[in-house]
């Protein structure tokens, strides 16, 4: 119920619709033969994966298999790690993102990320959400900024809990609230692609359901890649699923197919709970 209200929020419901149409025509993300290594250690080898527009792709696999590593390649977050080397080709909207001509700042504005560990800024809740809007100058007035912050917090299902204390520090929230704050912060700037690294790991079932609804709603306009450890979640929200194991992309395809008729025995053992 709560969610429906949020979606119908009048603030700028009709504004980005035109853009969404344009995005539909592009295959959004394709990784070709991506190999990532940390120093001498190869974390991902030869991964080729395509994530179509307006779909949710979930990445599953046992801990340490390279899901986060892959996700961080898609907005070049791995550039920050000195020892990390990425080989192969990654296209976002047809553009090779490791091309020297690409401005990584602009890339990250278009490919947003929710990190595995909630990392709110040690600033007020309001400023956390408003920060992206401010640096990209996405609002022209103070009221518009406030509206968009409120809208984002509502979509992330956090508004009711924080509406009366927007000036408190983001770090004073509980773990799950921080996680939703980070989601609100990311979706506030409306990136074309949203990368979510276990966004529900600290959430209760109600908040999880809220985020799953949000993901489904965001899918209409954006492309989403989500890492999850919950098979049920992957099955519920994603159209496509990719299974990683020990740095390899074992199998990927329609979620339905992966969960019902996996081709690889490793996939089968994982989703039935025998490895992982």
């Amino acid at each position: 119920m709560l969610s429906m209200n949020a979606i119908q929020d009048p603030v700028y419901r009709d504004e980005p619709a035109v853009e969404a149409d344009q995005r539909d025509v592009q295959p959004v993300i394709s990784a070709n033969n991506v190999t990532v290594s940390y120093g001498d250690k190869v974390a991902l080898s030869n991964v080729s994966l395509h994530a179509p527009a307006n779909q949710v792709t979930s990445l599953i696999g046992p801990s340490g298999c390279g899901k986060t590593t892959f996700l961080r390649c898609l907005n070049r977050m791995n550039d920050l790690i000195d020892i990390c080397r990425v080989e192969g080709e990654i296209l976002v909207a047809g553009q090779d993102i490791y091309d020297p001509a690409v401005d990584v700042v602009s890339l990250r504005a278009h490919v947003g990320m929710v990190f595995q560990k909630a990392n709110p800024f040690p600033k007020s809740i309001f400023d956390n959400v408003a920060y992206g809007l401010r640096i990209h100058e996405m609002t022209t007035s103070k009221t518009e900024l406030q509206d968009r912050v409120e809208f984002s917090l509502k979509r992330a299902g956090l508004w009711d809990e924080v509406s009366d204390r927007l000036n408190d520090s983001g770090t004073s929230l509980s773990g799950g609230q921080q996680q939703r704050l980070c989601i609100a912060r990311t979706i506030a700037v409306e990136p074309q692609v949203i990368l979510m690294d276990e966004p529900c790991s600290a959430l209760d079932p109600v908040a999880t359901a809220r985020i799953e609804e949000l993901i489904d709603e965001l899918r209409k306009k954006f492309t989403i890649i989500i890492v999850t450890h919950s098979m049920h979640q992957a099955a519920r929200i994603s159209q496509r699923t990719a299974f990683f194991h020990m740095g390899e992309l074992v199998e990927h395809g329609e979620t339905e197919q992966i969960f019902t008729t996996p081709k690889d025995t490793r996939t089968e053992s994982y989703i039935t709970g025998r490895i992982g």
């Binding site: 920050l80 700042v105 602009s106 278009h110 990190f115 990392n119 040690p122 920060y131 640096i135 700037v189």
Partner: protein
């Protein structure tokens, strides 16, 4: 493993004994350290406290119109007038040597005190007012140490005659100690009873201001660049090693650098707080850079990632998020560096801030000295009375150091771990 946790094995006993031993060694070490500290502070404070009081002597001075021309007060021989007053009071003193001792009861400043008084109020001429003069250093020390005990013997600095004179003043209530505001309000002097720390304090303040203005912005900018922007390669490693080495370079070397480069090559004014400040800034810079880099490194990388992940540029992430979080740590480092600079003597000696400065410096290019240098100068003086001045100046210096370090600690407390 024993069968039950109630059983105490010899091994367990040994472990407990080792722990108790270690704790006792720690406690003894702390007690020794505190003991030394207290001994030092107390002994300095006891001697230095004397400098806070100054003996004054009252004389009935006949302002002889024959000596003091109302038209030309400035040129009158006020020293002679005071000598005459002393002669009148102790008319039995006739020998030339004794007379010289007698005149030495009051400080050489007395003539100026009297002149200023008459200048302000010329109608005094012709009267015999009672005027308080600063006593000379030996008399001051003798009186302060024997005031409580009453009588007082002659010492090798005070003859029996002088003791008698002092006792005579004492009987009439014409000698007393007063709060020595002069110590805080005047510059250096050859006469211990006249010497004050204001010029040295002002010199230190100017030098530190120059030092802070140069080293803080340069230091934190260098740290931010090295930590957040510079590529990590052989060159940055080389720079890092050299900064660490610079922090360990003896300060006198920086003084030599100042002498050779700032004074001899660039011809900046000798003995000036400007040069002192630059030299201290060079010395403080590595400390600030190292502390600032540590503060930046303590900011969790997830904060950077959060900002960059939203599409902030490197400089936005740094100045909106990382630097503000690191600022208290940087400030703490800067204050600690400043405190070190405040106590620094050697480099200032090299650039001539060791001069005898009476006037309080008015600008950063005026000749000046610094507090620790003043202490060094006084400690070097032969007059015994400078001992208590030295100790009092040390107390002032220590107070500033403690206040600065306290500020650093409070700052660190206040902003500790907000993330």
């Amino acid at each position: 493993m024993t069968k039950s946790f109630t059983e105490i094995t010899p091994a367990l006993k040994r472990r407990h004994a080792a722990e108790a031993r270690f704790q006792w060694i720690g406690r003894v070490a702390i007690v020794i350290a505190i003991g030394f500290l207290i001994t030092m502070v107390v002994s300095i404070a006891v001697i230095g406290a004397g400098a806070l009081r100054q003996s004054h002597i009252a004389l009935d001075v006949f302002l002889d119109p024959a000596e003091i021309n109302a038209e030309e007060i400035k040129n009158a021989d006020f020293g002679g007038v005071i000598k005459a007053a002393l002669r009148t009071k102790f008319s039995d003193v006739t020998k030339r040597r004794d007379k010289r001792k007698l005149y030495g009861l009051v400080s050489s400043e007395a003539a100026y005190t009297l002149r200023d008084m008459v200048l302000r109020n010329p109608s005094l001429i012709g009267t015999t007012p009672k005027i308080w003069f600063i006593a000379s250093d030996d008399i001051d020390i003798f009186f302060k140490s024997h005031n409580a005990s009453g009588g007082g013997e002659e010492t090798h600095r005070i003859s029996s005659k002088e003791v008698a004179w002092i006792n005579e003043f004492k009987k009439a209530g014409d000698i007393e100690t007063r709060f020595n505001s002069r110590f805080f309000l005047s510059g250096d002097s050859r006469e211990p009873e006249l010497a004050g720390i204001l010029s040295a304090l002002a010199g230190s303040a100017f030098s530190l201001a120059v030092c802070f203005a140069l080293s803080f912005p340069v230091g934190i900018m260098a740290a931010i660049y090295l930590e957040e922007f510079a590529p990590k390669n052989r060159w940055s490693d080389l720079i890092e090693v050299n900064i660490n080495n610079l922090a360990a370079v003896p300060s006198i070397v920086f003084g030599l650098l100042g002498l050779a480069v700032l004074l001899n090559t660039f011809g900046l004014p000798r003995s000036s707080p400007l040069v002192g400040g630059i030299v201290l800034a060079l010395m403080t810079l590595p400390t600030i850079i190292i502390a600032s880099r540590a503060a930046l490194r303590a900011v969790p990388p997830s904060i950077r990632e959060a900002a960059l992940g939203l599409g902030a540029s490197q400089i936005q992430a740094t100045f909106h998020h990382v630097a503000p979080l690191a600022l208290p740590g940087m400030l703490t480092g800067a204050i600690v560096g400043m405190a070190r600079a405040l106590g620094e003597t050697a480099p200032l000696l090299m650039i001539g801030m060791v001069a005898f400065i009476v006037d309080v410096p008015k600008s950063i290019v005026a000749p000046a000295t610094a507090l620790p240098v003043q202490i060094f100068l006084w400690a070097d003086s032969p007059e015994r009375a400078f001992l208590e001045k030295t100790c009092a100046a040390i107390i002032v210096l220590l107070t500033f150091l403690v206040v600065m370090n306290l500020a650093a600690v409070l700052l660190r407390r206040k902003f500790e771990r907000r993330f």
